[in-house]
């Protein structure tokens, strides 16, 4: 590991301040990045990480502070200038044009693509780089047709091809399967060896320990600590982030499951090839598997957003195979979608309105036929407190919240309904360790209250930690189901890989 005594840093940020109304998202932050080093930027949800990087990349003007990049000041700049200076950024929420193909997205705003686009040459480069880095992307595929994990790879590819001196990655691993994460970390090491500087934002300690040279921890818009990674333990880092100690998740006590609440028989749909399982009250079925093997299809077919082609779904004995989404909600089904930006939230609506979406016709959100703004705001305040949703107030548009806090809205809304059956897809996406732990605890409490939970996640460790039984989804069907006590990792790995796409 090279030491920090080397020449002047690649990037120097000094005294960065940026407020949104009363919220000081960045409150005098200093940040240095050296060439050939990977800096981990950590912090709780809403601590100001994305804001700081958006300021650096020219997406947001700072209220105060200065930036020097490669010895030259960077002020009043826009993303175009940041990219010209040699900075590339992978955004927490995808910055892709869904209606365009992969290669068009790569070419957009890239001078090397030419004023008159050299599409064929660029497609060849996408194909070549995608092979070299193991990203498996078809340059001519429309982005709208890609699952979230693939879209994340498009963002990665875009950034790599730009050949930037400083690479910013804002939670790039949330949507990736473990093998893909390993691939990305290998790419980062390679770039470091080439002398690039990297800022890596993540909530996952193992990733930090694996690639980062040093970490900077933000808390409430200020730098709460810096430390080299060599010699630090995950607990230490997590404590620095949260400011208190975070105990390891308890192994949930298995209890005798109750009656069958959700039963799925031979469910087929485009992307699903006959899924069968029964889920009892007081039980969590964890569904692992590489993203793109039918996860979104299974979740949306259960939620009523896609039509089943064959098979049967019953909830508490009632056939809901062809029921509308609203009827399923009324029957006690709750759904946390993975696609935060489109399916889970209405970004332009307020936090309070998003919290009421499912139950707007019932108290406290409605009084008779009319909505009750006071009831809505009151309930929102309670939930914001209970779930630690950090926002200026209940009337803030949801899209303005930090990524993790947006996710907490979804979690609060669905858990607050006390559902009979919960379908949770990537429920802890982008949550910090403290919040993840909190959500997992709430799900266990829901289960102990007699509800059934289908917990779909590409995060194998979480599935193993929370599931009473573990299923592996591969190629549109369950490759295997085991009780957690009997789960054995190599077998699960085989199931995941054996039929994985």
């Amino acid at each position: 590991m090279p030491d920090a005594t080397v020449a002047s840093p690649l990037l120097e940020m000094r005294g960065i301040v940026r407020s949104f109304g009363a919220v000081r998202a960045n409150d005098g932050i200093d940040l240095d990045v050296q060439a050939g080093r990977i800096l981990g930027l950590l912090g709780e949800n809403g601590s100001g990480k994305s804001t700081l990087m958006k300021v650096l990349f020219g997406m947001l003007p700072p209220d105060a502070g200065s930036i020097v990049f490669r010895g030259r000041p960077l002020a009043g700049h826009r993303p175009a200038a940041a990219m010209a200076a040699g900075i590339a950024m992978i955004h927490q929420h995808f910055m892709l044009i869904d209606a365009m193909t992969v290669v068009d997205n790569v070419m957009l705003g890239w001078p090397e693509a030419g004023r008159v686009l050299r599409r064929a040459a660029m497609a060849a480069r996408v194909r070549e780089a995608s092979r070299r880095f193991g990203l498996d992307l078809d340059p001519d595929a429309p982005v709208a047709s890609l699952p979230l994990g693939r879209r994340q790879r498009v963002e990665i590819l875009k950034a790599i091809l730009r050949d930037a001196q400083l690479l910013i990655l804002d939670e790039p691993t949330s949507n990736l399967a473990p093998s893909e994460v390993a691939g990305l970390l290998a790419i980062l090491r390679r770039l470091r060896a080439e002398g690039r500087g990297i800022v890596f934002i993540t909530h996952k300690m193992p990733e930090v320990l694996e690639v980062c040279d040093e970490v900077v921890v933000l808390r409430a818009g200020r730098v709460a600590g810096r430390t080299p990674v060599a010699g630090a333990s995950p607990q230490q880092l997590a404590e620095m982030m949260v400011g208190r100690s975070v105990a390891a998740a308890p192994a949930p006590a298995a209890q005798a499951p109750g009656a069958v609440r959700l039963s799925v028989q031979g469910l087929t749909a485009p992307g699903l090839s006959g899924v069968t399982f029964a889920l009892c009250g007081g039980e969590i079925l964890g569904v692992a598997g590489v993203d793109g093997n039918g996860q979104i299809e299974l979740a949306e077919t259960l939620a009523g957003l896609r039509r089943a082609r064959g098979g049967r779904i019953t909830l508490d004995g009632r056939d809901i195979t062809h029921a509308s989404a609203a009827a399923r909600v009324a029957a006690g089904l709750a759904y946390m979608p993975a696609d935060r930006a489109h399916t889970a939230l209405v970004r332009s609506m307020s936090v309070a309105e998003n919290l009421m979406l499912r139950d707007s016709a019932r108290p406290p959100y409605a009084r008779g036929a009319l909505l009750s703004p006071a009831g809505r705001r009151g309930r929102a305040r309670t939930l914001m407190g209970e779930y630690d949703i950090r926002a200026a107030g209940p009337d803030t548009p949801a899209g303005r919240l930090s990524g993790g806090n947006q996710q907490k809205i979804v979690v609060a809304r669905e858990l607050d309904r006390r559902p009979a059956v919960l379908v949770a897809h990537q429920a802890t996406w982008g949550l910090d360790p403290g919040a993840t732990r909190f959500v997992l605890d709430r799900m266990l409490a829901l289960r102990d209250g007699g509800a059934a939970v289908l917990y779909i996640s590409s995060e194998l460790e979480e599935v193993l930690a929370i599931g009473d039984r573990i299923a592996v989804l591969a190629d549109g069907g369950f490759a295997g189901v085991v009780a957690r006590a009997a789960a054995d990792l190599p077998q699960i790995g085989l199931w995941m890989a054996g039929r994985a796409a």
Binding site: M59, R78, P79, L96, M107, L108
Partner: protein, 303 residues
């Protein structure tokens, strides 16, 4: 038959130029409701330019400018000040109608009477050799200059939108301005320029009417052609050649109507005049979901 097709092409030409302009505006994310006003301003400016400047070229130059002025007004209000696209566009149409009628009277010396300007029509420019081909020669290669320009425009706009960095940035801005910004584009600038260019090109459409087909300017002479152009760009799914096909269909419908009238077929002309719009509605209903609007159209930019 060739006569009928010639009439269809003649009617389609001004529509096509306006639709091409509208494609720029809508692909950048701004509803092109103001096409009617832009065309009208172009028709008027062309007349004044040709009359005062003494040449069709001066008329064409001024038509570009006249349409661009309305485009600029729409751009400032709808893009810069983030006003509603529909309301702004309609207001621009009303403004253009009033302004051109007023200025026509000013041109006559300030009295209440409009200036009466009569211009020689732009004649056909036969292309050597090709124009002598049987049937198609007359139809396609002996057209007046602005008709060739409209066709060239189709090719040029297709290349621009699909093959250039600027075209890519324009489409990206209409789909997702935030992502376009993150990719280095300047959505405000892109939208402003697109709407101004839309005005200029639609202004040319107006010039076709006054310089190439009528030879003068009369109050409100576009008579709803801007809306028809809007319909054709939607039916043509925001692509230049798609819009061209739609314009030809509309042109054929209107040519057919003229035929019926000359033969004295007892069909109300009002019914026949509805035909293009009925076609537009039918096509939209059939295309249905696949006729996908640019995702961010009509949505103002965040500050």
């Amino acid at each position: 038959m060739t006569e009928f097709l010639a009439a269809a092409i003649r009617i389609a030409t001004p529509l096509l130029l306006a639709a091409l302009g509208g494609i720029l505006s809508e692909r950048a994310g701004v509803f092109a409701v103001g096409l009617e006003g832009m065309m009208l301003a172009g028709a008027f400016a062309a007349t004044i330019g040709a009359w005062a400047g003494g040449s069709a070229a001066a008329g064409i130059g001024l038509a570009l400018a006249g349409g661009a002025v309305i485009g600029l007004a729409v751009a400032v209000v709808a893009v810069r000040w983030r006003a509603d696209n529909m309301v702004t566009g309609l207001a621009a149409n009303i403004l253009a109608l009033g302004l051109t009628s007023y200025l026509l009277r000013v041109a006559a010396g300030g009295g209440g009477r409009p200036a009466s300007i009569h211009l020689p029509l732009l004649g056909p420019w036969p292309i050597p050799v090709l124009a002598d081909l049987p049937v198609v020669g007359k139809l396609l290669f002996a057209q007046p200059p602005l008709t060739y320009l409209a066709l060239l425009g189709c090719v040029a706009f297709t290349l621009f939108l699909g093959r250039t960095q600027a075209g890519l940035a324009l489409c990206a801005t209409g789909e997702n301005p935030e992502a376009a910004f993150a990719a280095g584009a300047d959505p405000l600038r892109v939208r402003m320029l697109a709407v101004i260019a839309c005005g200029a090109v639609a202004g040319l459409g107006g010039a076709v009417l006054s310089l190439q087909q009528v030879g003068t300017f009369t109050d409100g002479m576009t008579g709803g052609r801007g809306y028809l152009a809007l319909a054709s760009l939607i039916v043509g799914r925001w692509t230049p050649f798609g819009a061209a096909a739609a314009c030809l269909v509309f042109g054929a419908a209107e040519a057919f109507e003229l035929r019926l009238q000359t033969f004295g077929v007892p069909v109300s002309s009002y019914i026949v005049q509805m035909a293009p719009y009925l076609i537009a509605l039918a096509v939209l209903a059939v295309l249905g979901r696949s006729a996908r609007l640019p995702a961010a159209i009509g949505r103002p930019l965040e500050q």
